[in-house]
């Protein structure tokens, strides 16, 4: 009866998984059909069971035969059948049958790659009928975590693994962008600018500065953006302190460990991957008024403000002085404005824009239909990527060579990322005990970009929102048109700016890698030494063409600036390993070692004005005007010295305990706070190994985990933070005390930096608890983690009142932040039938962020030039909270003004603010927190389906419940707005307050800037930034093997791909996906949209 029982279990397993399969994959079928199907299957297996039961009682022989099928009853060829604790083994033949000699009571191990390994006891069965279930997970797979390799099942920390295949499914230029939505707990906000940075945030915002995780590439801290995604073998995100405390002070933002590929045993393989595609600019740019509407708005504003000329009409130097605004035929002719056809002053013979031969006389027509500046600078762009890899290995040595080329053109003119990469990875076994190896990556990057979008910078995208539509791109003779006298802060011609930028260079050369040696000794010990690092040299080149007016290039002279520099960083790690299994069940692994890191960078540069010609071949610094030559250099240095240790204990592959301890010493901090200890403890219990769960066969694996640990962070701290420093340049500290006027200025000094030797580490105390479960052999897996991360002593430049002077404030331990949240990963893989397969993942990320303490500060704000005046960080509120007066409506009448609380500049049609403190007067005490940029949750959904040689996959990403400040509306929705002379929106003209439109969106149109319209920081700009986006959709087809064999190709797959096919959002700006500073993000200053559609055609070939 014994053997019978095991068969019952076995059959039940088949039954269960089959049933599960139907439940999961035909969820919308009628219940009836599922029940019928289940019945049919159970009936069939019941018959098998009955047959086996009788067979067992009749036969008991040494020669065992059997047949192995897969779960859909197709015989399996080449399955390994071996006797446990014996070297005897065989494989199944083409009909799935096998024969093996075995004794009664032996245990057969049946295994096949990609299938769940089965053990079966010989207990008198006549014929073994085994049905192998596909295994979608391999718990014995080995991954690199903190300085050591671990089996998946042994990992006690929270570690998310991203497969290279999933990463490269999104055709992004940078690995960071590929991580979006792939890992529960990891928020990635990215930008459409080629090579533009992404915000990668693990478990919310743990500090106010740089929250980018630490990237460890083959054991060395590296720049992920120079990595060819095709070189990645696997990527592990260490998510809790149990996993990343090992990285001590660098680990506080989480650690992402990347292992690059190497050769696999077998014949030499050649892989070639290629795609080409086009990116389309957003169809809908800013919603701006056409020239006549703009003129009408001007008239409306001037009338509403009572700013009328003596004849009772408004006036404007372009639109005249009539009852209605009239568009001129010409905007400019020399010094004259607003001219009409036939005027002698628009005579083309007078035209002159040669600034070296004044007087200048530009003639610019008006574009009465309106220039669409957005689509003048955003054009369709082509991207392509090639990657070729040659790899191979034998049992002693492994090698891999790869070459990659990426040319990602941005839709904004002259923005692109070109990257060449080459990689050589090798491993040699010197003898049985000693291995040496290296990883080497050479990369070259050419990546011109536009000015940062973080903060109200005058960048080109911002410009397309604010350039007047009446201005054409070109004047009458093809020169760049501008409204020449519109002041320094007014608009350039954005097309001119982007076109002139074509010669700019931002080139980076990077050598990155490591060499290592590893030796085993004394049976249980091994030692590893590794030296690696980065050497980056870069070169920047900018040439400004001489201009004929102040806004066209900002300079009457041409100007060349060049700079170059280098950064080097090395990491030297020495570790000693001990690994031993005692008494069969107890495994102990110990690691101890040291690590030293050293960074240095230096840059030199110079500039000169006044080149005789714009000829590119003449552009050398010494060719400009000698009196205008300038030069500079600067440098930085820091070091880190560490001790690392780790102990892992495992019992029966069931209980695991792990402890780590690191000591870091950093040159960044003063001697009293230089060293920090970072311990962690973590434990895991594979509950499915317990007998009481053995019968739950549907539950393949369930691991409960918990961890506690302390990590740290010291990024965004100047290496010289501890020192009070003085310096001063000609412009900011020198003074012509002798009154000579030129060239005799005296050297002066000023305090440049306030030092704070007491500043120490930021400490993150992270508690994490969760479980990883695998159901039905991986058909379903669920991982859930809860975490609480308390970050103490956040490092941030203290916001000091101006009375302390103009020196840069030091980073101090400004306060404490707490993040709590839950990460959920749901994965499912399987087959519907022989030809249909699926693979689906959902990640859910939530975090709740709260500032819990600020040290001697009421609040602090990020710098205005980066965040505008909108953000304030204060205890009890999340980081990057929007702060200001809350608009509760409009004043509807003078009577309303009288009845309402007293408010500066209150008038009908203007904003009415909330009287928060109820004192009847609107003061600065009435300001409130009216929103914040942190999402309630983010989710990634990945679905892949394949049928025979076709594969389809799609990936969606969504962010929900996050607020956005749409600053572009501050410029376009108000006639009078600060900063620039912008174009205006349809909202301003058609949806602004009038007595007839009391519930308008925008306030009354007026030529006035005051506390009750846009002169105070208020909640007008707030919008819901939630969105859901189809990031990528791919359809691929692998050519039949039978065709390919003839041309000696192993695999050839072609695919088409659509990127950003649709975005569902209520946000009115270009794209609600807004990166920024951690202390202030979600602010739209005209971001490079990431939501542009892209169409690609790709090819994978393996030889």
């Amino acid at each position: 009866m014994h053997g019978c029982a095991s068969h019952i279990i076995f059959n039940n397993l088949v039954f269960s998984s089959a049933k599960f399969q139907h439940y999961i994959f035909y969820p919308f079928h009628k219940l009836l059909s599922i029940v019928t199907l289940s019945k049919r299957i159970s009936k069939k297996h019941f018959l098998t069971l009955t047959f086996l039961f009788f067979a067992f009682t009749i036969l008991a022989q040494k020669k065992i035969t059997g047949v192995i099928t897969n779960s859909v009853n197709v015989p399996m060829v080449g399955v390994t059948v071996a006797i446990k604790n014996n070297s005897t083994g065989t494989t199944t033949d083409t009909t799935g049958n096998f024969t093996i000699l075995a004794n009664q009571g032996d245990v057969l191990i049946v295994s096949y790659v990609g299938y769940q390994t089965q053990e079966i006891k010989i207990d008198g069965q006549p014929i073994l009928v085994l049905s192998l279930s596909e295994s979608f997970i391999n718990l014995d797979e080995i991954f690199l975590t903190g300085y050591t390799f671990q089996k998946l099942k042994e990992i006690t920390g929270s570690v998310a693994i991203v497969k290279a295949k999933d990463l490269t499914a999104v055709p992004a230029g940078q690995v960071e962008q590929m991580l979006q939505g792939r890992v529960a707990g990891l928020n990635v906000i990215t930008s459409g600018m080629p090579g533009g940075g992404s915000n990668v945030r693990l478990h919310g915002i743990g500090n106010f500065g740089d929250v980018t995780p630490l990237y460890i590439i083959d054991g060395v801290q590296g720049d992920i953006n120079n990595l060819n995604p095709g070189d990645i073998e696997s990527l592990q995100v260490l998510k809790d302190a149990g996993a990343y405390a090992m990285y001590g002070v660098r680990g506080g933002n989480g650690v992402i460990i990347i292992t690059t590929r190497n050769g696999k045993i077998g014949k030499t393989k050649i892989d070639y991957d290629f795609y080409i595609g086009t990116t389309q600019p957003l169809q809908k740019g800013p919603d701006l008024l056409n020239p006549q509407e703009m003129a009408d708005l001007t008239w409306l504003a001037l009338r509403n403000s009572g700013q009328l000329a003596p004849n009772g009409n408004p006036f404007d130097r372009y639109y005249g002085n009539g009852p209605t605004a009239v568009l001129p035929d010409y905007l400019i002719a020399g010094p004259f404005r607003g001219l009409f056809e036939g005027d002698p002053r628009v005579n083309p013979d007078l035209y002159n824009i040669d600034f070296t031969a004044p007087p200048l006389y530009q003639i610019t027509p008006s574009n009465k239909t309106g220039t669409d500046w957005f689509h003048e600078v955003f054009k369709p762009a082509i991207s392509q990527n090639h990657s070729i890899t040659v790899s191979g290995a034998n049992d002693k040595n492994k090698y891999l060579f790869s070459l990659g080329y990426l040319d990602q053109q941005g839709t904004l003119l002259n923005t692109y990322l070109k990257r060449f990469t080459a990689r050589i990875n090798t491993i040699f076994s010197v003898d049985d005990k000693i291995r040496i190896g290296e990883n080497l990556q050479l990369s070259y990057r050419d990546n011109p970009r536009i000015a940062s979008q973080q903060g109200p910078n005058d960048n080109e995208i911002f410009g397309t929102f604010t350039s007047q539509t009446i201005l054409p791109v070109y004047d009458i003779k093809g020169g760049w048109s501008t409204l020449q006298d519109d002041g320094v802060f007014l608009r350039d011609n954005m097309v001119a700016r982007r076109t002139i930028a074509k010669d700019d260079r931002t080139n980076y050369w990077e050598t990155f890698g490591n060499v290592w040696a590893e030796a085993d000794f004394l049976k249980d010990f091994s030692f590893r030494t590794q030296f690696g690092g980065t050497l980056t040299t870069y070169y920047l080149y900018n040439f400004i063409f001489g201009g004929y007016n102040s806004t066209q290039s900002g300079l009457p002279n041409n100007h060349l600036s060049e700079s170059s520099g280098y950064r080097r960083s090395w990491t030297w790690t020495n570790t000693l390993n001990f690994s031993k299994t005692f008494l069969n069940d107890h495994t102990i692994k110990v690691l101890a070692g040291t690590e030293a890191i050293s960074n240095y960078n230096r840059e030199t540069g110079g500039g000169t004005f006044g080149f005789f010609t714009n000829d590119p071949n003449y552009r050398f610094l010494n060719n400009g005007s000698p009196s205008t030559q300038t030069n500079y250099s600067f440098a930085g240095a820091s070091t880190l010295s560490s001790f690392i240790s780790r102990i892992n204990y495992g019992f029966k592959e069931k209980y695991f305990l792990s402890g780590t301890l690191r000591n870091d010493g950093s040159s960044v901090f003063g001697p009293e706070n230089r060293y920090g200890w970072f311990p962690s403890l973590s434990a895991a219990w594979r509950i499915t190994e317990e007998n009481f769960l053995k019968e739950w066969l549907w539950l393949t694996d369930l691991k409960l985990r918990a961890s506690w640990g302390k990590t740290g962070f010291y990024g965004n701290t100047d290496p010289f933070n501890q020192y009070s420093l003085f310096g001063g340049s000609v412009g900011d500290a020198y003074y012509d005390i002798y009154g000579i006027s030129t060239g005799s200025i005296q050297q002066g000094f000023r305090a440049t930096r306030i030092g704070e030797p007491k500043t120490g580490w930021q400490e993150d105390i992270v508690v994490n608890a969760g479980f990883e479960s695998i159901l039905w052999n991986g058909k379903l897996n669920i991982t859930v983690d809860w975490y609480k991360k308390k970050s103490k002593g956040l490092l941030f430049p203290i916001t000091l009142p101006d009375v302390v002077g103009g020196a840069a404030p030091p980073n101090i331990n400004v306060g404490n932040v707490q993040n709590t949240g839950v990460d959920v990963l749901l994965g499912s893989k399987g087959r519907f039938s022989k030809n249909w397969k699926w693979d689906a993942t959902i990640t859910l990320t939530t975090y709740k962020n709260k500032i819990i303490q600020l040290n001697d500060l009421p609040f602090f704000s990020p710098p205005v030039d980066q965040a505008g005046p909108f953000v304030r960080n204060e205890v009890g509120h999340p980081v990057s909270s929007f702060y200001g007066y809350k608009i509760i409506g409009f004043f509807q009448s003078t009577n309303d003004v009288i009845k309402s609380p007293i408010q500066d500049a209150a008038a009908a049609g203007r904003f009415k603010y909330q009287d928060t403190d109820g004192d009847g007067t609107i003061t600065d005490l009435d300001r409130v927190y009216y929103g914040n940029a942190n999402p309630k949750f983010t989710a990634g959904i990945n679905i892949g389906i394949s049928y025979k040689d076709f594969d389809f996959s799609t990936f969606c990403y969504g962010s929900f419940g996050n607020d956005v400040l749409n600053v572009t509306r501050a410029l376009t929705d108000f006639f009078s707005s600060y900063g620039f002379s912008p174009a205006k929106s349809k909202t301003a003209l058609y949806n602004s307050w009038t007595p007839q439109n009391p519930n308008a969106q925008a306030p009354i149109v007026e030529n006035d800037f005051n506390f009750s319209n846009i002169g105070a920081v208020n909640s007008y700009l707030l919008e819901d930034g939630s969105y859901f986006r189809n990031k990528v959709m791919t359809l691929g087809y692998a050519l039949p093997k039978s065709w390919l064999q003839k041309i000696k190709i192993e695999k050839l797959r072609i695919y088409v791909q659509a990127v950003n096919l649709f975005t569902i959002t209520g946000y009115t700006g270009l794209d609600p996906e807004l990166s920024g500073l951690s202390a202030a993000y979600g602010i739209d200053f005209g971001n490079y949209p990431d939501s542009q559609k892209q169409w690609l055609l790709g090819l994978n070939v393996n030889f």
Binding site: S305, Q307, A309, F315, R317, P335, F355, P359, L360, Q484, D485, G487, A517, T529, N549, S550, P556, N574, T594, S627, T628, T630, A635, S641, S642, F720, Y723, S724, L725, F726, V730, G731, A733, Y735, D736, I737, Y738, S741, T742, I745, Q747, G748, F749, R750, L800, P801, V803, V804, G805, G806, A808, D856, P858, P869, T921, S977, F980, S981, D1008, F1009
Partner: protein, 580 residues
Amino acid sequence: MKYFRILLTFFTAGLVIYACSKKYLDKRALGELDEAALANKKGVEGLLIGAYSLLDGIGGNKSGFGSAGSNWIYVSICGSEAYIGSFQNDRGNTSIAAFERFTATATNENLASKWGTLYDGIQRANDVLRIMKKAKDISEADQKRIAAEAKFLRAHYHFEAKKMWNKVPYIDESISYTAGNYRVGNDKDIWPDIENDLKYAVDSLPPTSDRGVGRAIKYTAMALLAKAYIFQKKFAEAKPLLEAITSSGKYQLVNYHNNFNPETKNSSESVFSVQMSVNDGAAGLNGNYGDLSNFPGTGMFGSQPGACCGTFQPSQYLVNHFKTDAITGLPDLDNFNVVNVKYDSALKSTDPFTPYTGTLDSRLDWTVGRRGIPYLDWGNHPGNDWIIDQNYGGPYSPKKNVYYKSQETHLTDAEFWGNVTTANNVNLIRYADVLLWAAEVEVEIGSLEKAKDYVNEVRRRAADPSGWVKKADGTPAANYKVGEYTNAWTDKSFAIKAVRYERMLELAMEGHRFFDLVRWGIADTEINAYIQKEKQMRTYLNSVVFKKNCNEYFAIPQTQIDLSAGSDGVRKMKQNPSCN
């Protein structure tokens, strides 16, 4: 085994680095000096230069238009001397336009810029005092002088803040980040502190200096202290100081325009000036950078002075002040603004125009660029061609801050675009200013006749034809007629009016007007009268009102008030009265 040995060596070496990490982790700062490097005579003198260098308001991390040492926004735009100018949609200056309309709020960036730059200057002066204490090689005499210069500068910067905001904190060298006492309130009146610093400077500074014309000497300190007294109406205290200056023989009036020409700057009329410098490697940052938009230019390089941006256009009200009686050459103190000096609005440069033919004070045409009058060596001001939008900003151009064509690229900065930064000094105190203070003091507590003499001394120069603007043929550019007050001054209220009026004529567009109006207590009446008349031409002034007991002082930057609280949230600084 030999590999093991090699590896073991590595391991040991790694441990050694870790063990010796103390030295390995000591990294000195690169590219900057520490306090010890400056705690000596040369270093402290350098810090003092650094404290001087913010007199122009440019060079701190907050500096901008709003912090310009000339105070053009606050003084001339708020003080009815000038309009923002340029044109209506020039909202590059909208945060400045708020001053013209008296709607600047506590978040106005210009106010933040001014505040930040002044306190930067104050702490630079404090750094001199703090670090000098640690230096060992400075003689006692030098220490005294250096301390006096530093305290003088500290007083000047505080004085500027006092004029702007009235209630401001006084920051001496005991207040620093390191001391942890930087959350300071503005509840105290800082006049006594300003006086103390200036008294120290008066007592300690030498009467002359060969260390640079830009330095404060005894008389500079006396003048500033006198000014501080006058602002407090402490005329009796001011009087001896002013007399000491006038009797020193050190100062005299020079050719009027020499005060506004970089080639003749630092004359014997200059008491305290911001030294401007160009072509010095700073790309214009030391050359009136905060006033770079204040040129008639319409953006066309080469044909007109500057390239930017047509702001700072003198008002009709200012111009009208300069009308004089055809017989006496004296101004009409009461009715000057009834009839406008003829102007060329709504005319193209090609249309014929004859300038005003009535008698005028000669200083008008060194102060205001107007059509048909030689504009330095740029030829006659052409009117409309140099004006961005006459309808908006009126027909006039500023002049005192403008350079000669012959000085272009030599005394303007070639590294910065458009010749908009110049070596023209900003006169903080010139001798004529001192004389008019003396006149004011005499009116208030002394002899009206003496006051008249002081005023006449100033007028006498204006009456001297050698200092007038001339046409190419050497004849006066306009019908100038300047006379002295010959009738005895017997009526104090008339005398007050005459002295105040003379300050407008003599010192227009030089950074005094608004603060004068406020200290005289007549800002509301004067400015509202100005608005009433001017809004007929400048329609954007239609709804503008100067609110008494509110608009006299500016709003303290909101951020600074917010930051005056510690973690207890109690804000030590209080905002000025609201305009509600």
